[in-house]
Amino acid sequence: MPWSKEQMAQEVIQLIPANSSLNLGIGLPTMIAELIPVHMHLMIHSENGVLGVEGRPGPDSISSTLINAGKETIAIKKGASFFDSALSFGMIRGGHIDYCVLGGMEVDVTGSLANWMIPGKKITGMGGAMDLVNGAKNIIIMMTHFNKRGDSKIVKSCQLPLTGKNVVDTIVTDYGIFKPHKNRFKIIKLAVGSSLESLKIDKQLLEN
């Protein structure tokens, strides 16, 4: 049976060592902030200028100037800091962020990622994703395995405009965990009951 969103988030959390710095993208990855155990001491970075995000505010501490990159209200922990966007992206581009979890539309065997537009149909813009994939030390893509047409989003070669080339380290979908490796995908883990057939990935793309 495919993993639920919460199970996917738990799988992502297990890939991240304690005491890491971590940036969470808009969409599915955002929920991770609320599920991280306090004892892991992660420093969550939000590119709008916050280091030290910790879950959500209570009704008394909600603030219009305390938000994450998804423009949702957040809470911060002791040791947090605020800064401007140039410094924020200096942290990213300069290689100071250990892990980044982003959503995806397509990931291919070379670890290239597309996640910001469908030509002629939909444009969200890249936001900070292009900086993050080139700057953060480890890139994890957390996405549903299939698109709306039912095709696997894990592909041989991205057809959509790229966010970055050769940048993805690990992919976590509702069907399993995969790593682009030597022009194929290494299967790290499958959700209980997921068969190779159910992945709808060309067999030649899967590493034995």
């Binding site: 709008n48 209570g58 423009k71 957040i74 401007d84 813009g125 936001g127």
Partner: protein
């Protein structure tokens, strides 16, 4: 020293005209110059170039002037959550240059800092790199150039009469960078204080970058997505 304090938004924005380029601070609706934007919506101007991360959201912020067709060109990094802009981008009625957010910040910073260009890996091998010089360092990088503007409209929590600024929480974002990059920086504040009331070590942006200041009114400080802690 020239007097920097103006009576209100209308007085401070008097010389913005058709064709002006304007940087507008804020991330989504967080930290936007609400009074300045409302005044732009009342002014008889068009063909504006707007440099702002989101260009507003769902009828709010800069979307007020977007739907008045006052914007000719926009520089931004994210269109998600702004259907009015996405629609105009897809049908070509507004020219939109999407800039990766880190490159966007750095291009604005470069303009204020006198940097004529910089090489960054961000956007390499993507549509962002089209037409740009590529140079191989340890990895391939593309040349990016500064983003300048005629005006910046900024909101700060506090300013003194010299224009030293202090921002609240995550409301800082692009605002100090834009204040440095624009020829004419106009700041509206929740609290206008006397010189000396902001301790020197607490100044987030020195007043040398600020030309006009006014005490803002009627702040809405809207929250786009209020998400509260789940109580068990």
């Amino acid at each position: 020293m020239t007097e920097k304090v103006f009576a209100n938004a209308k007085a401070a924005l008097f010389d913005i005209k058709s064709g002006s380029s304007i940087m507008s601070g804020g991330f989504g609706l967080c930290g936007i110059a609400e009074n300045c934007i409302d005044t732009l919506a009342e002014m008889d101007i068009e063909n504006l170039t707007i440099i702002s991360n989101n260009i507003g959201n769902s009828g709010r912020g800069l979307v007020k002037i977007l739907i008045q067709d006052k914007i000719k060109k926009a520089y931004c990094s994210y269109v998600g959550g702004n259907p009015d802009l996405e629609e105009r981008m897809l049908n070509g009625s507004v020219e939109v240059e999407l800039v990766p957010q880190g490159t966007f910040s750095e291009r604005i910073r470069a303009a204020g800092m006198g940097i004529r260009g910089f090489y960054t890996p961000t956007g390499h091998a993507t549509p962002v790199a089209e037409g740009k010089e590529v140079k191989n360092f340890d990895i391939p990088c593309i040349l990016e150039t500064p983003l300048h503007a005629d005006f910046a409209i900024i909101k700060a929590e506090k300013a003194d009469t010299y224009g030293n600024l202090w921002f609240k929480e995550s409301a800082r974002n692009f605002s100090p960078l834009m204040a440095m990059a624009a020829k004419m920086t106009i700041v509206e504040v929740e609290h206008l204080v006397e010189m000396g009331d902001i301790l020197p070590e607490n100044v987030h942006l020195p007043g040398i970058f600020v030309q006009r200041i006014f005490q803002g009114i009627h702040y809405k400080n809207e929250i786009e997505f209020a998400v509260l802690k789940q109580t068990k």
